[in-house]
């Protein structure tokens, strides 16, 4: 609809509604402004060093001695997110194919209802379960054997003193993004035209070969689901804060405790006002998370859009 071709009452209608969508824009822009302004002190003091060093020196008495570096937290967010996507990719494709292709009737409905409910389950419930059950389980049955037999690999080098590690956070996040990613993959899988499926079987493919062909068709949808899942994973706070161990280590080892930007903010922010620069350093972490999250989610949405446009041609 063009502005010039609108009637006067339509124009009035548009203008009277205009403030509402602008609220969304105002929220996003003012949020960006707050994070930039609040991280200025630390950026003036340390420059970009705050993002690429790994120190955390707080001092109540002498602000000049304070020094903060977020590298371990940024690394932790990126790394736990990557583990989550790896776990989520395997679990969600396995689940989506099973429900769409291998089970029928009541079982299918039941599985689908369970997944829908778990997609809506608050993340704090996953967190509570992770603290009480997942962390001890992983330490005993996965990390200890891996460390014992494959300890020479950098991934399992650290002795798992507790179950609260980078790996636990990544796996818990993977479990959490599975219902969401599975939902998107299932929708794409169900939208494959019957004719393509029949064409596959008509040339004599086995069931598994037909599934592989179809997964190839919807690969862009799977990738966009995982990108959006990655965005969710790096932004998650409470579930990660409970299981990640909260230790500023810069390591590849999944058996070592770590920290993420969101969990660093969650655990440090209440004490931050006692120091001169700590609050600003945490806002700088927030700013990094803001920009990474925005980039990842924009990429995910762009992928979804491109896939929908491409797919529309087949329908």
């Amino acid at each position: 609809m063009e502005w010039r071709r609108m009637s006067r009452s339509d124009k009035r209608f548009l203008l009277s509604l205009l403030p509402f969508p602008l609220i969304l824009l105002a929220i996003l822009l003012s949020m960006l402004a707050v994070f930039v302004l609040k991280s200025l002190p630390i950026l003036e003091k340390e420059g970009l060093k705050v993002f690429i060093t790994n120190v955390w020196r707080a001092s109540e008495t002498n602000p000049a001695k304070e020094e903060y570096g977020l590298l371990a937290a940024i690394w932790g967010s990126v790394y736990t997110g990557a583990i989550a996507v790896l776990v989520g990719a395997l679990l969600s494709t396995g689940f989506a194919i099973t429900v769409e292709e291998l089970v029928r009737g009541k079982a299918r409905e039941l599985l689908s209802a369970l997944m829908d409910m778990m997609a809506a389950t608050p993340t704090i419930i996953y967190g509570l379960w992770g603290v009480v059950y997942l962390a001890p389980f992983l330490r005993r049955y996965i990390y200890l054997p891996l460390h014992r037999y494959l300890g020479w690999l950098p991934f399992f080098q650290e002795y798992p003193t507790t179950g609260y590690t980078i790996g636990t956070a990544g796996i818990l996040l993977g479990i959490m993004i599975t219902p969401y990613a599975a939902m998107i993959i299932r929708e794409a899988y169900a939208s494959i035209p019957l004719s393509l499926r029949e064409a596959a079987y008509s040339i004599g493919t086995t069931r598994f070969e037909a599934i592989r062909l179809q997964m190839g068709l919807i690969k862009p949808a799977v990738i966009s689901a995982l990108v959006l899942g990655y965005g969710r994973a790096i932004g998650e706070t409470v579930a990660v804060a409970l299981v990640v161990g909260n230790c500023r280590s810069l390591t590849l080892s999944i058996t070592a405790p770590g920290i993420t930007v969101a969990s660093l903010i969650a655990s440090m922010f209440k004490a931050a006002p006692y120091y001169h620069y700590m609050e600003s350093a945490l806002y700088a972490g927030g700013l990094a998370l803001f920009l990474i999250g925005l980039a990842v989610n924009l990429a995910g949405l762009a992928l979804v859009r491109r896939w929908e446009e491409k797919w529309a041609k087949y329908m």
Partner: protein, 288 residues
């Protein structure tokens, strides 16, 4: 139908491949089933220890091994935050989605939809920090109001996406019929279209409510976590069920964990009810 000859290697690959898919699905389901079962079992055992009424209305005393008490203030906090944030978001979300649906194709409409989709996936802890610096700091106090504002920002985009979807799905003929009767655009939208889309819109409200009830991170630096006392006004520090689970999950004393499990069951029940109602109203699966 005759059996088609399939080479043994392909047959083997087929069997192994299908087995791998089923195994992955099994691994995906196990934790989800375990979570559901433990929340129900552990939660029910806590609530049975205290008694349902006392658990829902009493105050926590986690150091008492025989009866850890209830989570009344947290439930009240969650309900107050829910009510406040619905009051804030419903008018904004409704009018924003009317704009998106009515002027679809225009740059503003597309931008508004994109912004909502982006905000849906936004790290919620950042919203908490934002409200801390713009509301809590200037007012010099943590409050239920600040918590509600943070939750509002989180749920607003969900409602906009769902409601604009509902409004866009109304058949064109309905609008044309209204115009042909001489109704103005304003009247057509608010009397006819909203009426026709009311189930979808209500589903959007319920989905937003489910989000509001479950969020924890936006409340970390806005509410303070007053789990033991009932608030007197919305400007008092408050508590919420989700925040209570977070704070109590850290504690090694069994009483805290028991209360956290009971709270988890209450929270899961609330969310499940809201989601189920939204699904029935929308008449389809809802993307969360």
């Amino acid at each position: 139908m005759g059996e088609v000859h399939v080479a043994p290697t392909r047959r083997l690959k087929n069997i192994l491949g299908l087995a791998a898919i089923l195994a992955l699905a099994g691994i995906a389901l196990l934790p989800l089933i375990h979570i559901t079962v433990t929340v129900i079992a552990q939660g029910a055992s806590t609530i049975a220890k205290t008694g349902l009424l006392e658990f829902l209305t009493g105050t926590p005393h986690p150091m008492n091994p025989r009866n850890p008490g209830g989570i009344g203030p947290a439930i009240e906090g969650t309900l107050i935050i829910l009510a406040l944030s619905l009051c804030i978001t419903i008018p904004i979300a409704l009018n924003t989605s009317i704009f998106i649906a009515e002027f679809k194709g225009t740059p503003i409409s597309r931008t508004a939809l994109l912004l909502s989709l982006l905000l849906v996936e936004f790290p919620t802890i950042l919203v908490g920090l934002y409200i801390y610096s713009t509301v809590v700091e200037p007012m010099h106090r943590f409050s239920l109001l600040a918590g509600a504002l943070a939750v509002s920002i989180v749920m607003l985009p969900y409602m906009v996406v769902e409601m604009s979807e509902a409004l866009k799905s109304i058949p064109r003929e309905l609008r044309e019929a209204a115009y042909s009767l001489g109704a103005s655009r304003f009247k057509t939208v608010y009397r006819i279209l909203l009426g026709a889309a009311k189930r979808g819109i209500l589903a959007g409200v319920l989905l937003g409510a489910a989000k509001a009830v479950g969020e924890t991170a936006p409340l970390l630096f806005t509410l303070y976590g007053a789990f033991n006392t009932y608030p007197h006004s919305i400007l008092d520090p408050g508590a919420a069920v989700s925040l209570l689970i977070y704070e109590y999950a850290w504690q090694p004393t069994p009483g805290f964990r028991e209360l956290a499990w009971g709270a988890a069951l209450v929270l899961m029940a609330m969310v499940a009810l809201l989601i189920a109602a939204a699904r029935i109203l929308a008449g389809r699966r809802v993307i969360y």
